[in-house]
Structures are given as structure tokens and as C-alpha cells.
Amino acid sequence: MLELSHVHKVYRVGAFGGGRKRAVRDVDLTVRPGEVVSLIGESGSGKSTLGKMVLGLTRPTSGRITFEGTDISTIKSFRAKKEYHRRVQGVFQDPFSCFNPIFKADRVLTMIRSSYFPDVSDADWRDRVVSSLRTVRLDPDNVLGKYPHQLSGGQLQRLLIARALLLDIRMLVADEVISMLDASTRIDVLNLLADLKERGLGILFVTHDLSLGTYVSDTTVILRKGAVAEMGPTREVFDDPRHPYSRHLLSCVPQLHRSWAEVDAQLAAEEPEPVRLPTLVEGDDSAPMVEVGEGHFVGADQG
């Protein structure tokens, strides 16, 4: 459904645009209908940039992103873009900056109506809004007609998910959707994502939280400095991480029943069979990958 091939993003930085900052380097990945792909990486690893490129908010410097067979860089006209966004929607990282502070929070829902459903009657629209709010476990009376600063981060974030659900989406880019939620509502939202997955949606789940990644995703992509470090079926990546960075990353997840020392000792003891990691060639932008198992790839070690 969604396919990224050799996608690069290079930002121009500095006073005269002379400097170059590589945010995404040679990323290949596929999201199939009914599949959750989690993009895991530390801050600045390019995961949000990837999400924005999929949503068409920034253009890749090179490479192709295709959605259901169409290269999205060919979607130029306003009408076509609007249709694209009827099917592909996103939920962003920071719920506080997603709402225009001088308008009421439910304006994000009203905007969907005026853009996409101008013909729907008031009563019908109200029902849709209420049902989509109930899906994300929000009480309509509590959130409608309020200003953003009167609502909590979790409420705002769920309001954004409800907004995406108003459209008949096929693909959702969820950028850190649960970072602002507390543990109990977090599970609600994750279950909601699982429901959406059942309905055949493709979900690109961007997160820095490894444990959340395992909970919902089918495929895991670990990003490091813009390039894929390791990619494969979630179970395999988590049970048998082959890239030194992913091994390190997984060992950093705090565990309830073990101390850091024990984790480190185990990590040293269970050295997996060494993989010859591909190397990056100076002056070449590509990031080669090595297949170490069925659909399980390991990228270059960038130090």
C-alpha cells in the first residue's frame, strides 16, 4: 500500500544555505494494509521527517514514495492532494501545538466537515463526531466547546485521533501518539490502533518507546542517524537483535525484575553470531543492508 524506496531528505542549513544536514538516508520500507510498522529511533533520527514526507508535508530530496501505486510527488493539484489526505492522515507529536490557541479545540473537527463533508446535515455530523469521540474514549460534553488550554495533553491527543477517524482513512501516520497519555489511556489508544489494524488500515507508528513498539507492531524499523539500522518482523528484531545499536537500545529498556548490572551481564554473555555489517562508502549516499533472516535486514554501523 505504502512503499518508500531509496528515500533521502537533506536539509539546507546555515546562513546562506551552504551547510547540509542529512535527516533521512536511503530508507526503504513498506506498509501493507492491516499492518502496523513501528519506526523506532532516538530524537533526531529522522523518524518524524519520514512521517512528514509520507503525509506530503515535505518532499523527499530524492527517492520515491508510492501510495497505492501512485508516486505521491506527482500529486500536485490542490484537489488531488485533498483526496490523498482523505485517505492518508496523521496525528502529530505535540498536541499543544496542533491546536490554534485562539480557536476552540473542536475546530479541528469542524474543519474536516467544511473541507470534506459540506453536505452532511448538522444532526448527522453531530452523531459522527460523538461516535468518533466515544471511540477514543472522550466524553463529548467535556471536550466540545473548550479552548485548547482548558484541555489536557491526553485529551487533545485523543481529539486529534478522533479527527483522523472522521475521515475514511486507509493509512494513519501516528507520530508519538501516546507520549502524552498516562498508562491507562495509553492502553486504550493502543487497543484502538489494533482495532484500526483489524479494519485493514496501514499504520506507521512513530515512537521512541520500545515497549510500545512491540505491543502493536508487526514490523519494526530501527532508525539511527537517518538510516535504517535494523528492520524486520517485530518478534525477530526483538528476540534476536543483530545490529549493535539495536542490541544496545533493547538493553536500555528498564525491566521490573532485573537490575542494570544483570542486564549488562546477560548482554555480554549472549553475544549472537557475528554479522558482517555493511559499510558506508565515503561520498556514496546509499545505505546498504544485509539480510540476516527471513525479511530481517541489518544496516551499516555508523558508530
Binding site: 480557536f103 473542536d106 473541507s115 482548558q150
Partner: protein, 302 residues
């Protein structure tokens, strides 16, 4: 918090419908309770009304020599007369009219060009920004007054409108730069991205997402451009390049100074126009502060 819910004129919970439509009535609710806004608006509208209606009740031209010379205010000549026997009241009301005209037209032209260029450059960024920014900088470093003098001197027909348009065409750059800087920072907010995902056109995003967030800033720019246009016009009037047949508050001030009204103690000649300019621009400033409080829900809840 509760005053917001009450303000929409409905009980909380019964208003989940389109909230955009309710904003108007809500803003009005707060506008009526804001003393700064009311005072500013009253003064500005009062002067505007005086400028519009006043001249209708004066049956002679503002520059005609109608009465005795250098008379203090009296029942016949409300603001006295000049050294030449011109009616200061007539000059005053006509002057207010042309001052508003210059301010609105000159400030308006500058405001339109400045905000259009500023928003486009700030929102689009990249090459569009570079080109527009270069244009802005070029106009910014032009010695505006010299250009005005040359341009106005070459024109045969010099009226208020021509003067105002020329002022507008040369004073927009700083507004463009100010608006660009604001738009640049607002354009990276995620609600702008969200609006793009909601199928909004560029101009609608600019007018409904970015501009409302800086509405008081925009009003402030207009007020400053208005004041600047009035002062520039007064400067042009002073060097003999003003409208040949008209009168303005600036022209009155310069005449008063030129004919030593200060030394002769003819206070009624220069105090009214000076006070009027100060009060008009000052009350617009107060108006702006009031508007800020009305449109920014965060400010009004404090």
C-alpha cells in the same frame, strides 16, 4: 473558565456544533466589556465623525479669509482665526478629514502590500522568500523622502489621493519584514500542518490560521503605518509638495510655526491640530491593546 461557556450564549454541552460561527458573538461579548477598547474606539470614531460631518456645517472654504485676524476662540469663530483671518475651526474639521484620508489610504496601501509580501515570504519560504526579501530590502534602503519629493514634484495634478498612494508605496517594507518574521515562526506550528492535512488552501491557511494569531500585531502595524503616513504627509506639506488646494492638520501645524503663532501666543492655531494628531494616534494605540485582550482568550482570562 465558566465565563467562556456562558459567553457563547448556551449552556455547556449543548453547543458541540460548529464553533466558528459562535466566535463572532463571543468576541462582541468581551468587546462590550473592555474599557480600553471602548475608550479608544469612541475617540477614534468621534474624530472620524467630526471629520466627515464637520465640514458639512462650514459654509466657507477652509483657506478663505473670512474674519478678523488673530482672534481667540469665540462664539462666532469656535477656534479663533489665524493671522490672515482664516477660520481655524473650518481648517480643523477639513484637516481631520484629510488626515484620516491620508492615514487610511496611505497606511492602507502600505499595509496591503506589506502584509501580502510578508505573509507570502514567511509562509512559502525558500526561493519565494529570498526574492521577496531582496525586493523588500531594496525598497527599504531607498531614501523614501527623496523619492517622494522627486515623484511628487514631477506630477502635475497633486491631490490628497496621489500623495497618499505614493506614501503607501514607499513605507511598506518594514511592515513586510515584521509580518514575515511573525509568519515565519507561525508557519512552522503543527496546526498549520494540520490545516494542510485538512484540505485547506494556502490563502485560507494564511487568513484563518496564521493571520488571526497575529491580529493585534496586524492592527498595530496598520496603526503605525497610519501614523507614519500622517507624519510623512505633514513633512511633504511643509516643503511645499502637499496638495495645493487642500488643508491638513500637518499643514496647519507648519503654517502656525511658519507664521510664529507660538511667539505671538496664538495657541488656538497650533494646539487643536497637534492635540488631534496625538489623540487620534494615541487612542488607536489604546484601541489596539483592547483588541488584543478581546481576541486573545489567554489574555482575557487573567
Amino acid at each position: 473558565m465558566s465565563n467562556i461557556a456562558g459567553a457563547s450564549g448556551a449552556t455547556p454541552g449543548s453547543a458541540p456544533g460548529p464553533s466558528g460561527e459562535r466566535r463572532g458573538s463571543e468576541a462582541l461579548h468581551f468587546a462590550r466589556r473592555n474599557p480600553k477598547l471602548l475608550i479608544g474606539l469612541t475617540l477614534v470614531l468621534g474624530f472620524l465623525l467630526l471629520g466627515i460631518i464637520g465640514p458639512l456645517f462650514v459654509d466657507h472654504g477652509p483657506n478663505q479669509y473670512v474674519g478678523p485676524q488673530s482672534r481667540p476662540p469665540s462664539g462666532e469663530y469656535w477656534l479663533g482665526t489665524t493671522t490672515f483671518g482664516q477660520d481655524v475651526w473650518a481648517q480643523f474639521v477639513y484637516g481631520i478629514r484629510s488626515t484620516f484620508l491620508i492615514g487610511i489610504l496611505g497606511g492602507g496601501v502600505a499595509f496591503l502590500i506589506g502584509t501580502a509580501i510578508g505573509f507570502l515570504a514567511g509562509y512559502r519560504g525558500g526561493i519565494v522568500d529570498e526574492v521577496l526579501n531582496m525586493l523588500t530590502n531594496v525598497v527599504l534602503v531607498l531614501p523614501a523622502l527623496v523619492v517622494l519629493i522627486i515623484a511628487v514634484a514631477y506630477l502635475d495634478a497633486r491631490g490628497l489621493v496621489v500623495q497618499a498612494v505614493f506614501i503607501g508605496l514607499t513605507t511598506w517594507p518594514w511592515a513586510a519584514r515584521a509580518v514575515r518574521a511573525q509568519a515565519l515562526s507561525l508557519a512552522t506550528r503543527e496546526y498549520v500542518d494540520l490545516a494542510r492535512l485538512s484540505g485547506r488552501r494556502t490563502w485560507r491557511i494564511i487568513t484563518t490560521e496564521i493571520a488571526p494569531n497575529m491580529s493585534s500585531y496586524l492592527v498595530m502595524s496598520f496603526i503605525l503605518l497610519f501614523g507614519g503616513a500622517v507624519l510623512t504627509a505633514a513633512g511633504l506639506d511643509f516643503i511645499g509638495l502637499g496638495p495645493t488646494d487642500g488643508v491638513s492638520l500637518g499643514l496647519m501645524l507648519e503654517n502656525a510655526v511658519a507664521w510664529s503663532a507660538l511667539q505671538l501666543g496664538l495657541w488656538w492655531w497650533f494646539v487643536p491640530p497637534g492635540l488631534a494628531i496625538t489623540v487620534i494616534v494615541g487612542s488607536m494605540y489604546i484601541l489596539n491593546v483592547g483588541l488584543d485582550e478581546v481576541f486573545n482568550p489567554k489574555l482575557r482570562e487573567l
